[in-house]
Structure formats: C-alpha cells, structure tokens
Symmetry: C2
Subunit: 346 residues, 2 copies
DNA sequence: TTGTACGCGTTATCAC
DNA sequence: GTGATAACGCGTACAA
C-alpha cells in the first residue's frame, strides 16, 4: 500500500492542456483568467484531487503565513487563553500558529527564537520568560522585516508592537479597593521586579497606599520568583505570625492569593474579616475557592486576538520603524467575598 | 532601513570557493567531507551569518519536521497540559508544533485537517471534537503516509495510533470508591455517549453498581453535552429535589463535580456526609474547592509526550498498517474530602 | 487571455 | 573528498 502521489499544477496542466501558469492563476482567481477556464480548471483540480503545496508557495514567496508564539508555559489559564485568541484569529485569516515554550528559561527563549526565525514565521507573538532582560534575540526578526508583538510581559526598551494591560492602574485599583473596605495594613505579594507586570502592579500598590496616607511597611511586601502556592503559603504563614499582622493582601496572581486564603483558614484567621484578599488574573479557581476570591480581570483572549491582528495588519512598507505601537487594555476589579468587609452581598 | 538579505549556501560557496553541495554536506556533518573543510565551512557560515532555510529543505525533502495538533479548545487544563507535553518532546527532537482548535465543531475539524495536511505535517496528534463520528477526513493523512495519533477522545473504528487511559476501569474505580465509602444511591454525570471516554466511564459506573448488587436508577444518570458548570448545577438541583435523593455522585469531569459541590452547599446538603462526590481529571480547582474534590488523575503531559514519541519514532516503512497500536495509561483515584464518609483525614 | 522560462534554497544522485 | 546538475512545486516577469 504505497502512498498516493501528489498531484501538482503540472499534472493538471498536462491533463487539460493548459500551461502551469494558467493553472496557478486560475486556482487563485487571478483576474486575467476567464471565468470559464477558471471554472474548468478548478473542476479538474477537484476531480484529480489536487492539493496545493503550501511549502512550495511559502518558499517561492518567502513567507509562510504562520504566526510564531513564544510563551513560558502553555498550561496556565492566562497563557492558554491568550493562545486560544491568537489561534482563532490567525486561523480565520488563513494563518497557521506555531508554539514554543521557554519554561521561563532565557536560553530556551533564545534557541526558540532562532528556530522560529528560520521557520520564516510571518510574525511573532511573545510573552517573555521570567529570566529575560536582554532582547537581542529579537533583532533577527526586525532585520528580516518580521513583525514582533510583545504581550503582557514586555521588554522595557525595544521598539515593537506591544499589547498590555495597565498594570499600574490595576495594582492601584486593587489596593484602593482594599483601602476602601477598611484595611489598615495591606500586604503585597509581588513577582520578580525585573518584569514590567509585577513592577507596575507593585508601584500601583505603593502609590495607592501613599495617596491614602498609609505607611509602606517593607515587612509586608514579598517578592516572589514564581508566585507559586508554596511561596504564597509560606509567606502567609509568616505574615500571620507577625506581632502586627496585615488585615489586607493584594497578591499579583490568583495562585498565591488562593494559597493565602487557604492558609488563613487553616490558621483560623477569618477571610475577609481579619484578612481581606484580592488576587490578579481571574483564574477559574478564583470563583471556586471559599470565600470566593476578589481579583482583577486579565483579558487573555482579547489580548491574543489583538496581537494576531497586529501581525495580520502589519504593513511591511510602513515607515517609522522607530515608533512603538502600544495597545493598552482595560481591566476591572471583580469584587467577590474574599474582600467584602463592609459592603454585604450584592 | 531595508531588510538584511539572507545568506544562502551559494553565497557561502562563492565566498570560500567551494561548491554548494559541499557546503550543504559540511553543514550537516556529512561523513564524506573532511573534518578540516567542514570546520572551515562552518566557521565561514558563522561569520557570514548564514541561516538555513528550513522551508527550502522541507520542500526538497517533502517533510516539514512539524507535528500538527488538533484539539477542541486550548484553554482547558487537560488540553493545555497535553499540548505542553507534545511541544516539549517535539522541540527536543527538533520538531515544530502547529496547533488548531475545532471548538468542538465537526466542520472546523474537517477544514483544520485539510490545512494541516496541506502544510505537510510529519505527523498529527488529534483529540476529537465532540461532534465527530465520521473520520474520513483523517484518511488523507493515511494516504500520504503521515502517522495519526489519536489521544483521549479517540474513534472507535480507525486503524491508527491511540493513546488513552482506561476509562472503563477509572469509572469503575471511582464508583467502587463511593460504594466502599458507604454510598447506597449513586448518581452519575455522563458526557456525550458518542464519545469513547464518557461511554466507557459510564459503563464502568454501571458495572461497579451491578457488581455490588446495587440497582441502576436511570433517574440518577444525566447525559450532558459539555459537562459545564451550568449543566452540573441544574442537574444537582434536580437530584437534590428527588424524593429519594442520591448520597453519592460520580461526575465524568471536575467542572460539573465542583458545581455539584457548590450547589449542595447552597442547599445545605452536607458534602460528603449527605452527598459524596468524585470527579474526573484532577483539574487545579479540584484541590481548591471546599471540601476538596476526590477525583481521577488524567496524565495529560505524559499522554502528550507519548503521542509525540509515537510520531517521532514512526517508521514509514513499517508494514502491518492494519495493526492499531494502542497505549493505555494508568489512572489513580485521588481521595480528598468530598468523598470521605467513613475514613477520617489521613 | 494564456504560455514560456526562470528562480526561490536546498539536497540527492551521479560523476570525477 | 568534492563538484555539477537536476529536481522539489509554485509564482511571476516577460512575451505572445
């Protein structure tokens, strides 16, 4: 049982006595081919089971109609939704999507970039690894005229498309919410301060405190590397053991926030009465944990859609390469039970 | 600022006075090229910034070193972990990974299959859409000699690689566990009976009941389409309103199981005392919900790794196309608080 | 409106 | 050990 040989436009040409070029043109509805021949050719193509060889087309046009995605890990709610948004948009435009994970390691990111560049992707969507502070490995795309869109975790100095949320504002709003609920000592779980997202959120937190005339207590601020539940659990334990424990907590992600809630419960500390908690991302767990977790929305799918669109609509001839096009999306505070000290349900 | 032109092996050849073929061979450590020239050529390639054009190579070899993935939706815990496992394995072997979502629609699956086939993927990993009962769109891969690996949601009659868990056994074990905990009336949330996974789990459930001499009550069995939390909530409400409500529930996924727990709590029905619950998948929410949800493990990453390996190790010359190679992975019952009627903590 | 001829970058085959 | 040549399948000036 040998494999069916592929039918090419040459086979078609021979079969119905047209030149390969006519076939080629007809197949993509070129104006210069008469309706009749076009129809004829398409019919023949159908009958002979012709299938275009996109590899050949890509080589010829030196563009692959493929969007490359570089992320840390796929199996996280925010990331997988982001990818979902990209894929959906790309597919509708006839683009494929290649993914590669860095596992938050810089070296992986660099080698993945190389692979994707060599694969001639038409564009790249990137959410940086935790370790990345050097962005030279993205230059190669620039040099090839391949648009790069940074999403969420973006570099500070690199001219390119950027799709982000207003992390500062979100951090500010989250903290402000806790203040409004009556919190007097608010702790913060921050992520690596090398990353824009965590740095901005922390700055929002700090400014919200200052604007409210509250003192910043460094003992209440934790800088985590991964914001994992282990880290969250440990830090919460420490916080609750303080002589003057916090009565509020703003965590830069939901994972750590949830672990804080669970840890508080275990220590018989009432949430939200004794410790109000707000997280970040609105992961599925946020609405499941008891009490349900207040959090900040993170429009993952939408960010994915926009990122893909940036690439699809990218004009290669556009001048002004020096202008960074940045898109900032809104976030909302979702108030659930974990932070409702005053206001009661609804 | 024009784009840097690409350096080809011809440029290299011209520059250092060797033929393109020698360059080509040296670059891939062909035996017949002397160590010295190989070294020389590689050095020159480095200096001139040569980058291989994988598109051209793919065209020439008519293989793309790319694995295509077809799934329903990326942003679900099981699926994203599955993809993560595939990607990791593929990348280490120098393969790329293309993903496409069907959104559980048959038509999407068919058109995605066409796109991936035309993209000349070296292999395909598929988890079927909810609607799929016809598998003709996978024939085209067979005809091209492209290996297809079905994962988790697999067809009943299609000779191909298959990577699955023992859904029957898992369903049996889950039910048996509830029986052992003393449940007398056990309800079941099943998924579409067109899908192997849900059908097998249900059969396991039924047999476990029978083996225990318990009667099967159709009123306690729900067949859902998506096993969403909405469906779970509604059904739980109905179950709890029965004159003789169940005291146990085996749900074919965690999403519906969690909604059942929440619904029970809302109705002041004690879990597990009055209603013991066990789910399926071990999603992150399972350990967060209160009481924590007993469930069945679903080795997503491992299934992804195995699927990728099946493709990487596929021998195109292998005979016996008629033999389906099927891999069955073990699952475990994870006992948490939602089902511990008798045995107390630890 | 259609055909001719060449190039995209690589690699396999056959020579030397 | 190395070189010349012909493909892989398609698209596109240029010609007719």
């Amino acid at each position: 049982m040998s494999h069916k040989k592929k039918v090419t436009i040459y086979d078609l040409a021979e079969k119905i006595n047209y030149s390969p070029s006519t076939i080629s043109r007809a197949l993509k509805d070129h104006k210069s081919i008469s309706k009749k021949t076009t129809k004829l050719i398409k019919k023949a193509a159908q009958e002979m089971g012709y299938r275009p060889n996109s590899l050949a087309a890509s080589l010829r046009n030196s563009k692959s109609n493929t969007i490359g995605i570089m992320i840390s890990r796929i199996n996280r709610p925010f990331i997988s939704s982001l990818i979902s948004g990209i894929e959906e948009t790309a597919r509708l435009a006839g683009y494929n999507v290649i993914i590669s994970q860095s596992n938050d390691l810089f070296d992986n990111e660099v080698s993945n970039a190389k692979v994707l560049c060599d694969s001639q992707v038409s564009g790249l969507v990137v959410s940086l690894s935790m370790e990345t502070t050097n962005y030279d490995h993205f230059r190669q795309f620039e040099e090839m005229g391949v648009p790069v869109v940074f999403v969420d975790r973006v570099p500070d100095q690199f001219n390119s498309y950027r799709v982000v949320i207003d992390n500062y504002r979100a951090g500010y709003d989250a903290t402000k919410h806790l203040i409004d609920e009556g919190c007097k000592r608010i702790a913060h779980f921050a992520g690596s301060q090398k990353m824009n997202v965590y740095r901005d959120r922390k700055n929002g937190y700090l400014d919200a405190l200052r604007d409210a005339g509250m003192e910043v207590d460094e003992k209440l601020i934790y800088e985590f590397y991964t914001l994992s539940s282990e880290e969250g659990e440990k830090a919460t334990q420490e916080l609750l053991s303080l002589p003057d424990p916090p009565d509020g907590l703003f965590s830069s992600n939901d994972t750590a926030a949830v672990s804080a809630i669970l840890c508080a419960k275990k220590n018989n500390v009432k949430v939200p009465e004794e410790l109000a908690v707000i997280g970040f991302n609105d992961d599925p767990v946020a609405s499941i944990v008891d009490p349900s977790l207040s959090t900040i929305t993170h429009p993952a799918i939408k960010m994915g859609e926009i990122s893909a669109k940036r690439i699809l609509e990218h004009d290669p001839d556009s001048l002004d390469k020096d202008v960074a096009e940045i898109t900032i999306l809104n976030t909302d505070v979702i108030i659930r039970d974990s932070s409702r000290k005053k206001s009661k349900q609804n």
